[in-house]
């Protein structure tokens, strides 16, 4: 089932997109139920799916078992789908039942590459998230 525009508009990642851009994304996103304990991504595996949390709680773990948890609507999992080398940097586990929007990584990447305006808006947001999460991936925090 594809997603409605209003749901997408309410997500921080797509907040800057106009109606036409959201219309391009909507058919690619699919609602998915997640069960407690379900693993969405595994560290080191090819990043094939991008996820946006609608509800539920998730734990992301990285090298040396560093981790953080996600609890809010609009949080994303799987930014590696649009960043080289397209492999998940962390393992995502559902701490509770929840709902996520999933999108095939290749289609997401194709969309970003084919529409520069849309790609720029989304990548700006993703880059911000990547920079916030990078310390967990690398294990180096700036003071």
């Amino acid at each position: 089932m594809s997603t409605d525009i209003q749901t997408l508009k309410s997500l921080d990642l797509f907040a800057d997109l106009n109606f036409g851009e959201l219309e391009q994304i909507a058919p690619l996103m699919h609602l998915m139920k997640v069960a407690e304990g379900e693993v969405l991504t595994r560290k080191g595996e090819p990043a094939r799916t991008f996820f946006i949390i609608l509800s539920g709680n998730f734990m992301l773990s990285f090298k040396k078992e560093r981790s953080f948890t996600l609890h809010n609507k609009g949080n994303i999992i799987g930014w590696s789908t649009v960043v080289t080398p397209f492999r998940y940097t962390g393992t995502a586990v559902a701490l509770t039942d929840g709902l996520v929007l999933s999108m095939p990584g290749q289609e997401f990447l194709r969309l970003i590459q084919s529409d520069s305006a849309l790609g720029d808006k989304i990548m700006r947001k993703i880059n911000k998230i990547v920079s916030e999460r990078m310390p967990y991936v690398t294990g180096t925090w700036r003071d």
Binding site: G37, M59, S61, F62, R66, F68, T69, T91, L95, W141
Partner: protein, 142 residues
Amino acid sequence: MFGFEAIIAHDGLGISVIGISVVFVSLILLAFAVSQIHKIIALWDKRHRFKKPRQKKDQKAAPVQDPTVPQDIQRASRQFKLLIEWIGEPFPLPKLLYLSEKCGLYRPHSTINELLKCELIIPDGNGYYVWNKEAEEKRSST
């Protein structure tokens, strides 16, 4: 008698009209049935909505505590605190999850989530977690 004459004589035209009608009516009915399948599937998907009121009635009749819900966060916190003491602080959350699963603690994922929500487990800012003694004391005093 052959050909068209034989067909007319044996009421062949009428029979073929009936035959064609039967086939087409069947096809129409089949198409209608197929077009309604999505409604049956939608009803099937929503079956839990119809079940819920009955479950509530059952619960009223025999109030049974649901052990799956970490109502007793106090007890869960004691169990997890022991594990954390064993791991040492600051501890990695995945390790706590792994050990709690190994120890057979009930629904470790959602319990850890509850402990995070209660701030009994808090991040140390470096990707690891610590046990929040202040929150524990606050909880035990109230």
